[in-house]
Each structure stands twice: as C-alpha cells, then as structure tokens.
Subunit: 161 residues, 2 copies
C-alpha cells in the first residue's frame, strides 16, 4: 500500500474524534521554524494546541528566502510577532557538506543543483546564524527571535544564547 493510502485511512480515525475548528490567525502569535527531521513532532515537543502557532519546516530549519516569505505572510497577514527556531542533534546536514552533496546529486541525476544544500558543522552556531538572518530581514514587522536545539536522543530542548 502506498504511504498516502495509509495516511488517508489514519485520517478517518482523526476526523472521527476531531476536536473542532479554530481561527486562521495563530492564537499565540508565534511562528516556529524547524528542521524537517522525522523525529520532531512539534505539537508535542513544544506543547502546542491546534491553532496556536505557524509551523515552517525545511531541511536544517535554516533561514532561506522561502522561510522569509512564510514569516512575512505570517506577520503581515496573520498577526504573529515572535519567531522560535528549532534545530536538533544528529541532523542529516551535519553528515555532509555542500560540495559533496552537489556531487552526489549530479552523479545520480546528471544535474548539479544551482542551490546549496546548506550543510553545517556546529548546530549551536547554525542557530545563531539563523537568528541573525531573521533579525536582519527588512520585510518583517517583528524581529523578536529566539533559538533552540532539540536533542533527538532525550526529547529535551535547550535554548541557544
């Protein structure tokens, strides 16, 4: 069975105990930017309820133009005013570098990507760099940002200063 069919089946059970709708504007006025890693169920990890916060995720949880687009919409159209970053231990982007990854893709597909993978070597430093990029964006209404690292082995989050 394709994974989507399992998901549609599971959704039947979800819909049967669906707790009800909420407004489109996030109640806690916060946007979370996190890595796409499969081991981070953010609602549980951060204690979020349905309707509380926008959730933006990509490889690494890094700040790209697309993340700035999403945060700009989150703030200007939907009223959020805080940004919380969640990077994590044992990230796939710690296990490669941009050149090696581009070569891997080129070898497998015949096409070298024009964009960088955004690999990094120190997760705390990468959180600091991401905080800097949020603070420097000229399109946001609020530059209030704090950053964390999630330990996938313990479930514990720590803040990066």
């Amino acid at each position: 069975m394709a994974e989507i069919d399992r998901m549609l089946e599971a959704n039947e059970r979800w819909a049967q105990q669906f707790p009800g709708s909420k407004p489109v504007r996030p109640a806690r006025k916060v946007a979370v930017v996190a890595c796409m890693d499969s081991r981070i169920p953010l609602f549980g990890v951060l204690g979020l309820d349905i309707g509380d916060a926008h959730v933006i995720r990509n490889a690494g949880g890094v700040i790209t133009e697309d993340v700035i687009r999403s945060l700009t919409i989150s703030q200007h159209a939907l009223g959020t005013r805080e940004v919380v970053l969640v990077h994590h231990t044992d990230c796939g982007l710690l296990a490669t570098d941009d050149i090696t990854f581009a070569e891997t893709v080129e070898k497998a597909t015949g096409r070298r990507p024009p964009w960088a993978a955004r690999a990094f070597t120190d997760v705390d430093d990468d959180v600091r760099e991401s905080m800097r990029l949020v603070r420097e964006s000229p399109y946001l209404l609020s530059h209030e940002v704090r950053g964390t690292v999630y330990d996938v082995a313990t479930g514990r989050l720590y803040e990066v200063e």
Copy 2:
C-alpha cells in the same frame, strides 16, 4: 511570559515521558509537504509516528526552490521515495493576491519584497500545480507524488486527482 518560555516549560513534561530515540532515516520513506497553517498537527492528522516521515512546511505548502532543496536532501541523503502534499481549506493565501500583499509589506516596512507571496484562488488547482512541479524537478530520484486537501473545519483529508 514570552511564548518560547512557555514552550521550554512544556518541553520539560515532554522530555519526562519521551518514548525514546529513532534512526535519522524516515521509516516510511515519505516526505510530507504541507502548509504552515496552525491548525494542522500533521502527526495526528496523518497518523504518523516519531521517525516515520520528513515534514516540510511553508506558507501555502507550495513547491519553491527551498522545498526542492529539502526534498532532494530527503531523497538523496535520507532515503525517502514518496512525496505527499497537504494543502487546506480557509488558507491565508486564498485571502490575498501577490500584488496586494507586496503593497501591504511595502507600506508597512518601506521595502517591496522581490519574491511573490504565491497566493492562489483554487486550492485543488494549487495542489495540481504543486504535483506538476515535483514531477518536473530534475534533482529528485523519485517523482512519485500525490496531493491532498485538509478541511480545517472537519479534520478530513481528501485526495486531489
């Protein structure tokens, strides 16, 4: 209290009942691309367990260069082979258009964004366009993609053909 402090407090409770670590490679070999909307707790909505699937989210759940970067890493470095899209009803991007949004940002910040908001008028069509963009990417190993719309009023997901 800042929202992040509430999240760090909630995380203490999560860590105390943490169910244990999982491998970095997603067990179900699937990457989900969804909208950042605050009303879509994907693990519950799709019946995902920790470690099952990559989760990529942005404003609209649209396919941008950053989503292709994330999917390329997901497939080449971490072994996923299916893509599932989750757009939804009552999306913030249905309530504006790219020009109006750019004017809103310019009026508030003095800077007009060089990127489009990626607003859309029909959610099913937008899912079809996103499927097309995944199928056409030259960097992916698998172009197997299916698309869905989540009804935020009922909790129910339907597939778009």
